[in-house]
Symmetry: C2
Subunit: 332 residues, 2 copies
Amino acid sequence: MRLDAQSRGESALIERIAQRSRDLLSAGRLAVVQGIGDDTAVLQAGGQALLWTADMLVEGIHFRLDWIDPRSLGWKSLAVNLSDIAAMGGVPTGALLSLALPSERTGGWLDAFVEGFIECARTYATPLLGGDTNRAERVVIDVSVLGVVSAHPVLRSGARPGDWVLVTGALGGSRAGLEALLASDTAGIDLMPHFRPVPRVEVGALARELGATAMMDLSDGLAADLPKLLRASGVGAVVFPKQIPVHPVAYRWAQGRGIEPERFAMAGGEDYELLLTAPPATAQQMLEQIPPQTGVALSVIGEITEPRELWLEYPDGKREPFALAGWDHFTA
Amino acid sequence: MRLDAQSRGESALIERIAQRSRDLLSAGRLAVVQGIGDDTAVLQAGGQALLWTADMLVEGIHFRLDWIDPRSLGWKSLAVNLSDIAAMGGVPTGALLSLALPSERTGGWLDAFVEGFIECARTYATPLLGGDTNRAERVVIDVSVLGVVSAHPVLRSGARPGDWVLVTGALGGSRAGLEALLASDTAGIDLMPHFRPVPRVEVGALARELGATAMMDLSDGLAADLPKLLRASGVGAVVFPKQIPVHPVAYRWAQGRGIEPERFAMAGGEDYELLLTAPPATAQQMLEQIPPQTGVALSVIGEITEPRELWLEYPDGKREPFALAGWDHFTA
């Protein structure tokens, strides 16, 4: 599986940092259940587990101010963190917001940003508890979220051979919006999947209750994220591309350009849908309960295997390795 | 009391954000004891209180890479957050590190940064539990720290008339280093107080145990920070300038330039010493126990008064308002 340059660079940085801090992990005053390496850190506090995460958004890297409106940016900066809490099966408790802003962004722009942030905070009952504001030449947003889970969180490492692989919602919508923006060709394209991701907090908590064995959120795209889950669990998988739920926006975008929609959807980052695994009986239960209770679709897209390999399997039985040719122009 | 432009702007931003989020404070899943407005947020989790804070450092605003070495910057970026935990009387539990880095800072520079961060983390038993790394044109560092306190944290709001006002360590050392750097006149100047602040974690926990009524850390300087504590507590104070402990580096810097050392020390930011209040009997106990147990000096510098005013009182009994003339050229 090839990662794009951005992700590969980031992984190396994270590994560099993780290596130097691993021996410190045992020294905390709350028991550390999980340090670097999952969607959130996990700390034991009495009977409950605390979930803790932070995500930074940098102008020019993660967003362009001539593209995204401040209200959507405020929503998104919190939503991507709530998605990490959801991916552990937890519920959010509060947020800290650190902002670096050029002076021309401190008036109405900031008001709209905070309104979007608070709109998301209100929707997911996540009060803003503090933070830090600073001047800078470019906008940098760092949000930290704390969550709780009453029993054990769902880690990336619990997938077992025979488990089914499932995803929530539909994939590729955010990437289609991004491609449209890059191509200055947004007429008729719904940019909301790109600007306003919906964290799957309710689904994540329900999936944990029902017995999901592994879970993570799709921030870098299925093609980049599924291998992380498999590596953490020490397993492989077969994915059925024709069962991948393609977002309507992605479908239209890909088809109009002669790209196979499912491949486009697999390469699409920033969907913030959940990727999870469960034994077949549990997965069946999820398929019955999750769409009705939450209104969010759930799709079976593959199966976990013992061999640590990753294959695509088509309806005619043809298999090919997951690292696809014709992929590159999406991940430049 | 006049604040400098940077602090005044930041206060307005924080107020703008706080106002819009206040009504959300009751919605969290852990009870929120304290939201925006103290050194950290406070959440109740079973029998203990969780302390939670974040601080962002921006290249060109908070530090210059041609001045500070990466190892010191790593130390400082964690230390300023630990200082917030100390100011509540808590102990740190873990940290998240979000970094935005230009590509030329991802090799040896990053290694040295992480070493300094981990050196501080090890000293204060604060494991690095996760975070986020990103590319950017300039270095931005955001650190979030979680701490715990077994009983109640010490807030800014508990000072009562008759309490003594105390500070740890000595003031002005960091500002003297900054002034020397700005003047390109660092020969013979110890820059460590500016580059490597020492969070007073042990002293803060002990002061809480002994019964401190209010506490905060000195990040913006006594002249800017004391009024915050007084406002939060709804009281005033008399400060005895001649009892203010002046850092030797600050003393030499100020004297060499014809500035009254105590005034310089009061205006000096980034000392990260603790400012606290306690009834006289409790304060006496602190004066006996804290220097011997911790090796950190503790000085009585004033007294809390009922009238919400702030005065300087000299040994000859002369009083003047705290907002000093001749102050301005330090707070540009």
